[in-house]
Symmetry: C2
Subunit: 431 residues, 2 copies
């Protein structure tokens, strides 16, 4: 409280003069791994994020479907960095980078100087030029998205219970998920299971088992990143849960009334978006080349062309993997890139030669279907069904940060599986 | 979906014609106990609440101070009534009662007919004619209140970390709790402990241990419902935690700048209200006599004067206990009244003589001070310190509904106690 410098762009008080300053923008998987890998280096680190928490995004759909509480999959970033006295956390929104002065620009007018900059700013939903669909078809990226989707799903059943017009009631009991990737498959499967297993005994007038859940995918199969045999299995497993899988059809209209796909106009109160993402505006901040989804086209060492001191990792980056295909936007890829960048900065500080180009190691694709099945594509090994689900569950509990959350999530899942109950079925107000 | 009647006031579809209709407004402790006691009676029950969840209010301050997740202390009302096919749940806001037609009026125009009505609508904050203070000094009654207060507390520390003006920084690190009842004592103690134990290692520029926490009480002692010796102990224990306890002073001003009490003007960004409650407008709905706090003055059998078919229980009622003192607005009192009313309705249906007047049995007062101390006033037995805390904790875990939540809360507390960590330190947006 007493050691406050006067300039608003002041570096953290703990910084020794002259130390190399690393600024990391974004406290997701990539940013945190970079900081983790920098342990022991003689640097000052500032992590800037506009949220105070790191989010375990692979389980976000479980908050949206009332299986987990928000605090089971999110942690204060400060807490994660508490044992790193050289690292400061800044809750602030970045609006640009002054590459000349080497400063990150904050929305509140602050400027944070850097010697090395790591952009790990992730991605947002993309509506392919239909941003007006956003209010009707929310996507799932933040805790607020998840609690808002949870509220919409639960309120739809509540309103259906009171609705006397059969047509309105049918629209309330129609749930449309757009996009057949892992998020879409997981949302559709879990909603169908809620309607068929969790909710029926709670309602008196409606039979929630008659709710319609549609999963609409523009391509010819679900889970296009997986082996086709697993795509087929996923479709069959979803259909067994009662999901209507629509393939090869794109949605041409989204409104308060519902959706239009192909020649079909469907009245639906709840429409969820899992179809596309767009990178955060990091490329715009730098005026650097990007692909159509806004992802920075980086050098093989993950630096931004023309700026050897600026690295970019995770969903905000477009780079080819060893097989020539783009590195997927999943947590393991972001972590590998974060680790690489942390090591690269360390090497540069030591004066060591630059490391070999980044090489992505694909460990596999996973997706769950309802509460007892999953598909896993490890390349040579392909798994599906309950065994795959167990591997998925154990892997996700293992990767959760903090023993408390591992226990708590394991307990929540055990509860859902033995009792068929979901503990987080809360409708809370606000956005 | 097919059995939808046409009138919007339609009773639940499961109702057999001619059955006695009990409508309960409010799914808190009192309303749920009344329904529980009605088990086996030949009645149709409709529970109306404007929220979808029952809230374990005695632990709400722990959500506000980031110790517990929202779903650990709240349950969907539908879920609690799932094994009672004769009971329907209605998510709706009540705006009045047509006592002539015997119908409850809903905000959306619906009307719900009753033969017996139970009003269990609780209480809200009261600002003693200063409703303009509400935005600056939020009270703690709902889950939304709790997450909003949690956000305010956590953001104050975040902003202090970035603030360079020492005076603004001091205001950000000043927390004022108004009202020295159990809620005020619990909030002040927990905030002080957060600042002194949980947060220090997470911040780099501010020393969170230097945060000021003030507890302002208009009376001459804290916890006025407790024995004076326990009030003294609570004050000393709070002061040991670093809380500044101000007695015999009332707050005369609340604004965005802070508070004025006595001759002192204090700049504070975070002000919390635990000073007063006002009953829900049930008395206004009926045009029935009420006390100054808006509580219905009921007959000894908890019916509303002039309406033998309308009962009222819990915080919305004013009634004297056996010692002549008013029955306190605490969970055990609401539950006893709920049980009494359930039994009374059952007796009336059987044609049995009316039960003896309601008689409140006071089991005791409890309040915690920080994470290891508590005061308990059982009348003859008075306990304080760590032993009292253990009894408090075991009692509260015991009363939590649902085995899953008991385990989960026990786990959260164990984590806080062994690691000094709070798992729910999330700043989420929205109201």
């Amino acid at each position: 409280m007493s050691d406050t410098p006067s300039a608003s762009s002041s570096p953290p008080a703990s910084r020794a003069a002259g130390r190399h300053r690393v600024v990391v923008v974004g406290g997701g998987f990539g940013g945190l791994e970079a900081i983790s890998r920098l342990k022991g280096a003689d640097v000052d680190i500032t992590l800037i994020d506009r949220r105070n928490h790191h989010l375990f995004q692979p389980l976000l759909y479980q908050v949206a479907t009332a299986s987990l509480a928000t605090s089971e999959i999110a942690w204060p970033i400060r807490y994660l960095l508490r044992d790193r006295p050289e690292a400061s956390t800044l809750l602030a929104t970045v609006i640009g980078v002054d590459t000349q002065a080497r400063e990150v620009l904050l929305e509140d007018g602050g400027r944070v100087p850097y010697d090395s900059l790591v952009l790990a700013t992730g991605a947002r939903h993309a509506y392919f030029g239909h941003d007006d669909w956003m209010p009707y078809a929310p996507g799932l990226k933040t805790l607020e998205d998840a609690t808002m989707i949870r509220r919409r799903i639960l309120l739809a059943f509540e309103r259906a219970e009171r609705e006397t017009d059969p047509r309105r009631q049918a629209a309330l009991l129609t749930f449309v998920v757009i996009g057949g990737g892992p998020t879409g498959v997981e949302l559709a499967g879990t909603i169908a299971e809620m309607a068929r297993v969790t909710l029926p005994p709670d309602f008196r007038r409606i039979d929630t088992r008659r709710a319609r859940v549609l999963l609409i995918e523009g391509g010819q199969r679900l889970l296009s990143a997986f082996d086709p045999s697993l795509s087929d299995y996923a479709r069959q497993a979803l259909e067994k849960l009662g999901v209507e899988v629509v393939l090869g059809q794109t949605v041409s209209e989204c409104s308060a009334q519902g959706v239009v796909y192909g020649d079909t106009r469907l009245e639906a109160d709840t429409v969820l978006w899992g179809a596309g993402v767009r990178a955060s505006p990091a490329a715009e901040w730098l005026g650097a080349p990007a692909d159509r989804a806004g992802r920075l086209l980086v050098e093989p060492d993950l630096t931004v062309p023309g700026y050897p001191e600026i690295y970019a990792v995770g969903d905000t980056v477009s780079i080819a993997g060893p097989d020539g295909a783009p590195v997927p936007g999943i947590a393991p890829a972001a972590k590998q890139q974060g680790r690489y960048v942390g090591a690269a900065i360390k090497a540069r500080l030591r004066g060591a030669p630059p490391p070999a180009p980044f090489r992505y190691k694909h460990s596999g694709n996973l997706a769950t279907i309802g509460k007892r099945k999953a598909v896993i594509d490890f390349g040579r090994i392909k798994l599906r069904g309950p065994l795959a689900w167990w591997i998925w569950g154990i892997a996700h509990i293992y990767f959760l940060i903090g023993m408390r959350n591992r226990l708590s999530v394991a307990l929540s899942w055990l509860w859902i599986h033995t009792r068929g109950q979901r503990s987080a079925r809360l409708i809370t107000q606000g956005k």
